[in-house]
Amino acid sequence: MASLITCPHCGVRPKEEFAIRGDASRGRPEPMDSDEAWHDYVYVRANPRGRTLEHWHHIAGCRRFLVVERDTETHEVYSVVDAAEFARRAAR
């Protein structure tokens, strides 16, 4: 259930401790990128039924941003990693 998230720093916590920022699958465009790139980043969503990556901010805990891989239909959580660790892995 997505009502419980296992924070890599704090352990199993209820979702009420988190602020959810949504889609974590795409990177932020550069400041001078096209209007279209910024429009897509701010407004357009893939909105899949199934696996998705999201930012969850552990606002009432360690205050770290996390990347949660979750199924939007079954609410199953596959992985939770710190956002910094996620970015390092993506850069590699």
Partner: protein
Amino acid sequence: MRYSAFSLVRNALSGNLNWKPHWRQPQPKSHYDVIIVGGGGHGLSTAYYLAKEFGVKNVAVLEKGYLGSGNVGRNTTIVRSNYMLPGNEPFYEFSMKLWEGLEQDLNYNVMLSQRGVIMLYHSDAQRDAYVRRGNAMWMEGVAAELIEREQLKKTIPFLNYDHARYPILGGLLQRRAGTARHDAVAWGYARGADQHGVDIIEHCEVTGIRRENGVVTGVETTKGFIGCGKLALAAAGNTSRVGEMADLKLPLESHVLQAFVTEGLKPCIDHVIVYGGGHFYISQSDKGGLVFGAEIDGYSSYAQRGNLATAEHVMEEGVTMIPGLSRVRVLRAWGGVMDMSMDGSPIIDRTSIDNLYLNCGWCYGGFKATPASGYCFAHLIAKNDTHPVARALRLDRFARGYAVDEAGAGPQPNLH
């Protein structure tokens, strides 16, 4: 068959054995002028107005489940037009006016009950915001009244006026607003559309959209290929998935919203009451059950169920506003999947594909819009031109910088 006092008596005297089904169960034809994907309130009202007002008779509505099994059967039935922004208020007032004539128009009892919607305020700042909203409504010709605390106490005595954090100081009332019977709205529109020759095809899921030379030529379905001249999407929570079949990239997220109904009580809540301290809204159905809901669950979801923490939060808000609610048993809860748009307002527009039309992004306020949504969408499909009251609701408003941000929450669907 038209309903009348005479038809009631005649059928009663013949043992109620001669009532006919409200709509036919046709097999799909090989080609339609217009196919509407989605047999909910908006799809059915679109079909009805297309046939009745705009003379497009060769229309099919495709529904993957049974008719009205989506959000039109899973909502809190509230009808109102107490909006503030110039792009929204005329649209919802147009809808309110259609509601007021709907039963005569459809020859069907949708049990419209203009019992009044009252939105409570708990601080001076919130009072000012509601005065402003009321004035914005008056500027569009819609009556609104500010009710002060003492007067409200006489009208609605059971509220928690002395709450330590959210004392109730008054409310903004729209008297013409109220509720309608949600299932009857779907059935009434279905019957009306059917009488005008629309084919309503249930248990027919769209699995693909076929395109040739850049235009849509038909849809693949679980009942085979069906060709069309124009394709109109009114698929609510599944819009992203249907849109994907035509490579549409949409400003939508799907979220789940829960609602609840209690055991039947004697009449006790006369209005629809909206709690300004949170997002809680409650009314009493004609059967006596209290019907209420609050916020979405917060994260995107296609599951037609919510989590218990949100259910608990809704109950807390309700009991904060009406302490007596703690003694009432909840009979049923349900979760509907809504397509939350990025600014909280709907989208009625053409798409980048010439004969593909889009009606989506109703967030959790689609029920009140059912008549106007159908009318404006039918106008768009029939004339290829946006209806004047829906001009602010076009898809390209995000790119142009004209988002209709009624809640002022920015482009984050879980915040409005």
